[in-house]
Structures are given as C-alpha cells and as structure tokens.
Symmetry: C2
C-alpha cells in the first residue's frame, strides 16, 4: 500500500462510535508500527486533517476536512439540496430516511433523518453500505454504469443475514425489478428485522450518484407501506436529481 493510502486508512479508523483515538490504539488497529503511525499522524496534523487534543493527547479528525468537504459541497451541492427533501420524506413516513453517496465500491451514508419515535431503525452517518445487500445498493446498481455493476457482481457477495442475496443472478434480478419499479426493496438483506426501500439520485449523465432510502422495522410494515414509501422515495429522488442538474430533463431519461 502506498504511504498516502496508509495515511488515509488512519483517517478511516475514526468512526461515530470512536471519534477520538490514542496513538497506540491507532497503531494497533491499523497494523502499522507506532513510529510509522505517528509520522503519518504528524503529517496529517500538519495539514489540519487531524487534530490532537492538548489534554488527552488523543487524535481526532480535523477542521481541514470540514473545509475540503465544504468546497466539494459547493461544487456539488448534494447535501444542501437533498437534506430538506430527506426531512420531508422522514416526516411523511415517520421512519428513518438516509442519504448515501457512492464512493469507490460502496455507498457512504452522508445524512440521516431519524423520526421522533422510540422504535425505529438506527443508521449512523459515515456508515458504509455494501451494494448487493441494501436497498440503496440495489437501486444504485440498477442505475449505475455497466462497469460498476460488473465489478460488484464479480466481487465476493458476503451474506450478512440468512436473507442476503449472495447469487449474482439473484442480485441482478433484484436490480431489474428496481429499474422497472423505480425503487428497490431490500428485505433484511443487511440486518434482521429491517426492511428498506430506496430510489436513485441521478447525475447529469443519467447515472446514479447516490440514493435516498427509507428503513423501517419489518414488524410494523405492510405491503402497502412499502409501495407508498417507494413512490415517495422516487418522487424525492427525482426532485433532488432535477435540482442538482438544473432541470436538465435529459439527465432523467433512465428513470423515466
């Protein structure tokens, strides 16, 4: 792995659950030597991507990341446009709504709206979603480039529950249904007792760049709920796509 890759994989060790980590901890988890880990941290700190708490000496993600993310967001106002619609969808469905953006070989959860009720599905910001075993992943693939689909189906399709689709043909079939329907349905593919629907958010080239999904406890979800949420998610996704692409209708050809 390149040195740069190592440095970035250090950044990836910070999670919502553990946003601050000590040097030894980081070395252990990354598998790098303590000296190496430290040198990488110093380099990252020197550019503001990591900060060190003056008191505890622990490290955390730095303000420089906010800066870079805001520049990206300004160019590509995904959150800015999508969050209000996600919020609407969350209050309409009274279930958890999350937005994801594609990155490398997974979807990245970039925003979550939790409904104000005790029994709900919990999704964390920053969580990485596999493509074959989530509603978001399936609908993403349904509207993705051919290469991305091939790459996913060629790779290993891990089973997370007994319901996870691990056969390429099954995943492919699920994608076709999603494409025809406009939204995907994933029944406990990633976690037991959770059923989700998702719709694709399209870039100007007509391919998916992210998704919007509704996740709910299966126990209280009827077939009618699924259909209703699916259509609502499609409407929200279409609106987001339109706003992102300046009402460029051509971009939406694939979802029409």
């Amino acid at each position: 792995m390149s040195t740069v890759g190592k440095a970035i994989s250090l950044l990836e060790l910070f999670t919502l659950a553990e946003p601050e980590l000590g040097l030894s901890d980081l070395a252990r988890r990354s598998g790098f030597d303590k000296a190496t880990t430290r040198r990488l941290l110093v380099a990252l700190t020197g550019h503001g991507l990591v900060e060190q708490d003056a008191a505890t000496r622990h490290y955390r993600l730095g303000a420089g990341l906010s800066r870079l993310a805001r520049i990206r967001e300004a160019r590509f106002p995904f959150l800015q446009t999508a969050v209000p619609l996600a919020r609407d969808l969350a209050s309409a469905t009274a279930e958890t709504v999350h937005l994801s953006e594609f990155g490398i070989d997974r979807l990245v959860t970039v925003h979550v709206e939790h409904p104000a009720r005790a029994n709900r599905v919990n999704v964390d910001i920053g969580q990485l979603l596999p493509l074959h075993s989530t509603a978001s992943g399936i609908v993403y693939l349904a509207f993705a480039r051919e290469e991305a689909v091939k790459a996913c189906l060629a790779g290993p399709l891990d089973a997370f529950t007994t319901h996870t689709l691990t056969e390429p043909v099954a995943v492919s079939h699920s994608m076709t249904e999603a494409r025809e329907r406009g939204y995907s349905i994933c029944d406990q593919g990633l976690e037991e007792g959770v059923i989700s629907v998702a719709a694709a958010i399209l870039a100007a080239d007509g391919f998916a760049l992210g998704t919007i999904a509704v996740a709910a406890p299966k126990a209280r979800t009827t077939a009618a709920d699924i259909a209703e949420r699916g259509l609502a998610a499609v409407a929200a996704a279409r609106e987001i796509s339109m706003r992102l692409n300046g009402d460029n209708l051509k971009a939406l050809r694939r979802q029409a």
Copy 2:
C-alpha cells in the same frame, strides 16, 4: 515534505473558484512531477478523497471527504449549532456573516451567510484568514492559548492593505482591546473598504476554537453600527459556545 504532505497539498489546490483540475494543471501548480502527481491522485482516488470525472478526466474532491467531515461534525457539532445563529445574525444585521474554525496557523471559513442585497462583502467558503489582519483572527488570538499567540506574532505579519497592522505590539494592543470589549474590530486589514467585527467561540477549556464575524462595506458603516454588530456577535458567539459545551459556564470564564 512527506509523501502524505504532498498528497494533502494536492487536495488543497482545489478551491471554490476552481473545483475541478486536470492532471497537468495539478502537476504544474503543485510543482510535483506529472508521474508523481498522478500516483498521488490514484492513491487519493482509491480512498474516495478525490474523484475523476469520467468524461473530462479532470479531478475533483471526493465523497469520502463528506463522510469524514460528517464524522467530525457529529463529534464536534460546530456547524450544526452555529449555522442557525449565524443566519439570525445575518438577517439582524443585513450584512455578511461568516463562521471560522481554527486550523494549523490560520482560520478556516467554514460557513457564510450572505444578505439578500447587491452591495455586500463577499466571503468564500474555504477561504483562509490570516490571524493578524482580520477581525476573526484578532479576537481568536485574544482568547487563544499563549503559545498560539506567540507563534503568530513571531511569524511574518504580511501587509495586505495600507491599513494592515504589521507590528507585533500593534496587533497585541488590538487583541487586548478585543478581550476587554468582547469583540474585535478590523478596519480594512485584509481588504480595502471592508470593516469587520468578530467574537470568539470558546471550547470547553475556555480557549477559542473559532469565530463568528460580520463583514460590511465601510462606506455605509457608522460607529454605532460597529458597536451594535459587535454586541450581537458576542451574544451569538456566547450562545454557540454554551450550546457546544452543554451550558458549562466554567468554559466561559475568559469571556465574562
């Protein structure tokens, strides 16, 4: 410079004005060899910190940055808490309000609220503010750790306009005034015709972690405006500090 540092300095070449850059451009601006530049970009792309446009082959900041920034923001909800108050301040003053966070040796503009009027001061997200020549910088220093102040005054104090304070004692005096007043005033220190006031946002340890500032065209700004905005900025900053630190009053001792 470490390889990691080089990679990060590539990220820093992307700005609001030029959010997409080609390989040759990046190599030229960074001063690195084209092969080196590409290898770094490949490493960054592999971890989602950079993306490549499929059509133009140009590079831009990637979704992975959004993810990391959101994790940081969840731990440290600076924007989440501060933006609503910045918005209130902007509508109350009808002038540009910006939020900055400290990073390395500068303040980083992480949010901007522009008033809905033609003649206003324009501030860009991601803009880096020097400490000695901006209202934000002065008030930050006024409530910063001794070391940070020393480091700033020891370094070169560049003049951006004829009004910029370039003498350490002058800057120091300006800091003292800001500390006593609660807010800083910067009269055309960074740009001609712009006058700003700023107040410090404090961390739990009582030291500044960022600032909130109001910037206005000097031509239409009276002394009364300055005082009014200064007090409003202090009120906003205090509210943000309180919300960030869970009403921990001890944290606010220095501003009291």
